[in-house]
């Protein structure tokens, strides 16, 4: 099963490689990982999407907690109601014949055109992983040049917070 895990870490030298190394060294997989500083610049927040049965995911959260620089770990999928978002940038071939269709799709998915050139449109879409994935599927036939996905970020609903 897929799990979305948030990790609050000390914003220190090498912390990302400790986390990445833990996953590769113990044979856990990472589907996506996003990381950036929090309001407190001494900490960073990571959102990791991983896959495994319950025992494996339990090991993953325990092993993360064991790292000295990890302050807190929350397995949203197991423990909490949460909201999630992902952002994607999609660069498309914009031929006279498909420009209208690209814009229609962008509108349906409540996306934005963020860059235009003579031959290309770059579209931004934000939403759940599912929505982002669906948008990419819909525009694929129109001629995708490249995509950049942010990976999922997540936050618990209501008052609870990570740190």
């Amino acid at each position: 099963m897929r799990h979305t895990i948030s990790v609050l870490v000390e914003n220190k030298f090498g912390v990302l490689s400790r986390i990445a190394g833990l996953f590769s060294g113990r044979g856990f997989n990472i589907e996506s990982l996003s990381v950036a500083p929090t309001l407190d610049s001494s900490t960073s927040r990571m959102t990791i999407v991983t896959r495994g049965d319950d025992d494996i995911v339990e090991q993953i959260t325990k092993q993360l907690n064991k790292l000295i620089d990890v302050i807190k770990v929350v397995d949203f999928t197991r423990d909490e109601e949460f909201v999630e978002r992902e952002i994607v940038l999609v660069k498309l071939n914009a031929e006279p014949s498909n420009r209208a269709e690209i814009l229609r799709m962008t509108e349906i998915f409540r996306g934005k055109v963020v860059d235009v050139s003579a031959r290309t449109y770059t579209i931004e879409v934000t939403g759940t992983e599912g929505k982002v994935g669906a948008f990419i599927e819909m525009v694929k036939p129109l001629g995708v040049i490249e995509i950049a996905r942010s990976g999922k970020i997540a936050m618990s609903r209501g008052k609870k917070s990570l740190g």
Binding site: F13, S17, D55, Q59, K66, I68, D69, V70
Partner: protein, 567 residues
């Protein structure tokens, strides 16, 4: 009035910090970038520095010091190759949760990443085998970092910490203040046992008709042997130990089952396989212990006390988990047990009778031969002559297993062996580390002819510092355990496991000025050991043993532990 903090160089801060931490010994090897530091060690003349012959040796010595004393061991090496040579030592300490701090030199911060001379990304190289590591980037962080490194190494589940020291950090100055205590928001080693879980464990012990206490290296790290004895003696629960747990519980105790697992005793493996309650105490259900995991302790409810939450339910599902310092948990458990009114003495008489039957059916044994030295006999002689009052180290392989099977240990921290990583070449430097900590004790490395050659250069260290370690080589001219597996599982095809060339160990020892003895007959074993002990100088005893002797019992890898080859 509070003294104004003085400006010191990083090198001075390093030495001052170690003195604050009461470090008395450093095992090290100087080189380019750490010369400023060595200069200060020279000026201060403390802590005492032991010059090794290879950096791997320095780390094993620090490890042997840590295992024998319970204190943090310290190694100091230069950058590049000095640092990379420590990796096996660090990994050895990591697998066995041994508290050491390894200081490595590093090129100046502005040169890091430029492939400078003797540059290695040692923090990166060692990341998977350290408890934690630091690259110090500023002299003003140095004292705090050293304090944290020692705190992390020695607390919680202990382990190695690496501190990488760029040359400019050692040369630059900063105000020196040493933190009185260390507090880390991201690291709170959970130390106290939950009362409810302890009650559940006591309930389980009270209900059990066939309990076994399964004890690992955590018992030694936690210094909880007294509490274990109390628990076992009060509840009449028998004890089995892992290789790492040996010494936790006296070998001669009537409730002792001996080591379990691949080369464990018949009664220990039978008891674990038939018990109704298995209480794991600072052990981690390692594959060399469990054999086929699905058939390990199949009838038992399982409890597990461990300071490391990741150890619990990692390999085996546990019914009663207790995350705690073992000493704290056992103290609480003993208090709880004392309140219970069970008839502990008679409650599992049948179980103990069954165990006695297993013991009688299959004792640890070997077939003595008249003119050939059996390796097990050598271990028995070592045991007889020292009366167990010594610190023993081992190399890895058959020598290690025979030592584990035939030594009678009375106290923790007297049997030092590389359990998890299985590092050949560990025993001799570890013995030197232990001897440096306990100059007056008898320290004996039980070695094989192959593994001793992996760090034999440390004879120089032993001689220089007059550390009278005795190395007993069980010389069979093979990589013995490899040969045993090839015999049993690879159709006797001895692929490259025969060391057809050997040095003359006696002359080798003598070339260092050490005592070298060669022993070819059983009756010479005892006298040679007595001579070595009396000599009080580094000694190599080359014991020519039965070449194709095997370690039994043996559970083939992956088989259930009841399927023992007994001879």
């Amino acid at each position: 009035m509070k003294e104004e903090a003085k400006e010191l160089t990083g090198a001075q801060i390093f030495v001052e910090s170690l003195l604050k931490l009461k470090v008395d010994l450093i095992f090290g090897y100087p080189g380019g970038v750490v010369l400023p530091l060595y200069d200060e060690l020279f000026k201060y003349q403390k802590p005492r520095h032991i010059l090794v012959r290879h950096e791997q040796g320095a780390v094993h010595m620090a490890d042997g010091y840590a295992r024998s004393t319970g204190r943090v061991g310290v190694a100091l090496v230069t950058s590049g190759p000095g640092a990379t040579n420590t990796v096996t030592g660090i990994a050895t300490a990591y697998m066995d949760s041994i508290p050491i701090v390894v200081f490595t030199g590093q090129v100046p911060t502005h040169m890091i990443g430029n492939d400078a001379f003797q540059e290695a990304d040692i923090v990166g190289i060692t990341r998977p085998c350290v408890k934690h590591s630091y690259l110090v980037r500023d002299t003003k962080d140095l004292a705090q970092t050293i304090a944290e490194a020692f705190y992390i190494a020695a607390s919680g589940k202990q382990g190695p910490v690496l501190v990488d020291l760029p040359k400019d950090v050692l040369v630059n100055q900063a105000k020196f203040t040493f933190p009185e205590s260390v507090e880390l928001r991201s690291y709170k080693p959970n130390v106290s046992a939950h009362v409810k879980q302890i009650e559940r464990l006591a309930d389980a012990l009270e209900e059990s008709k066939r309990p076994v206490l399964y004890v690992g290296g955590g018992m030694i790290s936690a210094n909880a042997a007294d509490e274990l004895k109390k628990l076992s003696h009060h509840t009449h629960a028998p004890v089995t130990e892992t290789l790492m747990g040996l010494g936790s519980f006296p070998t001669a105790d009537p409730l002792q089952l001996g080591m379990l697992g691949m080369h464990g005793t018949y009664r220990a493996n039978m008891a674990v396989s038939h018990c109704d309650l298995l209480v794991a105490l600072g052990a981690r259900f390692d594959d060399r212990v469990t054999g086929k995991i699905d058939e390990f302790a199949p009838h038992a409810k399982k409890a597990h006390v461990d300071i490391d939450p990741t150890s619990i339910s990692k390999n085996v599902k546990v019914d009663i988990p207790v995350v705690s310092d073992l000493k704290d948990a056992l103290k609480k458990l003993n208090t709880e047990i004392a309140k219970r009114k069970a008839d502990w003495r008679h409650k599992h008489e049948d179980w103990l009778a069954q165990i006695a039957e297993w013991k009688a059916a299959n004792k640890m044994r070997y077939q003595p031969k008249k003119n050939i030295i059996k390796p097990q006999f050598v271990v028995e002689e070592i045991d007889r002559i020292t009366g167990g009052d010594a610190i023993f180290t081992t190399e890895v392989g058959q020598n290690q297993m025979w030592a584990a099977q035939f030594l009678k240990l009375n106290r923790p921290r007297t049997f030092l062996t590389s359990g998890g990583l299985g590092t050949m070449g560990y025993g001799f430097p570890a013995a030197i580390g232990a001897q440096a900590a306990f100059p007056d004790k008898i320290v004996i490395d039980i070695a094989g002819d192959a593994s001793i050659q992996m760090n034999i250069q440390e004879l120089g260290t032993a001689m220089q510092y007059r550390l009278p370690v005795i190395v007993v080589i069980l010389n069979n001219g093979f990589l013995g355990m490899v040969r045993q597996w090839q015999q049993l599982f690879h159709g006797r095809r001895y692929a490259y496991s025969c060391t057809e060339f050997q040095p003359d160990f006696v002359k080798l020892a003598e070339s260092y000025g050490a005592l070298g003895l060669r022993v070819e007959k059983p009756e010479e074993v005892g006298p040679s050991l007595e001579r070595a002990i009396a000599a009080r100088k580094p000694t190599l005893i080359d014991c020519v043993v039965d070449r194709e002797e095997n370690v039994y019992p043996m559970v083939p890898a992956g088989a259930p532990i009841t399927k023992m080859l007994l001879a």
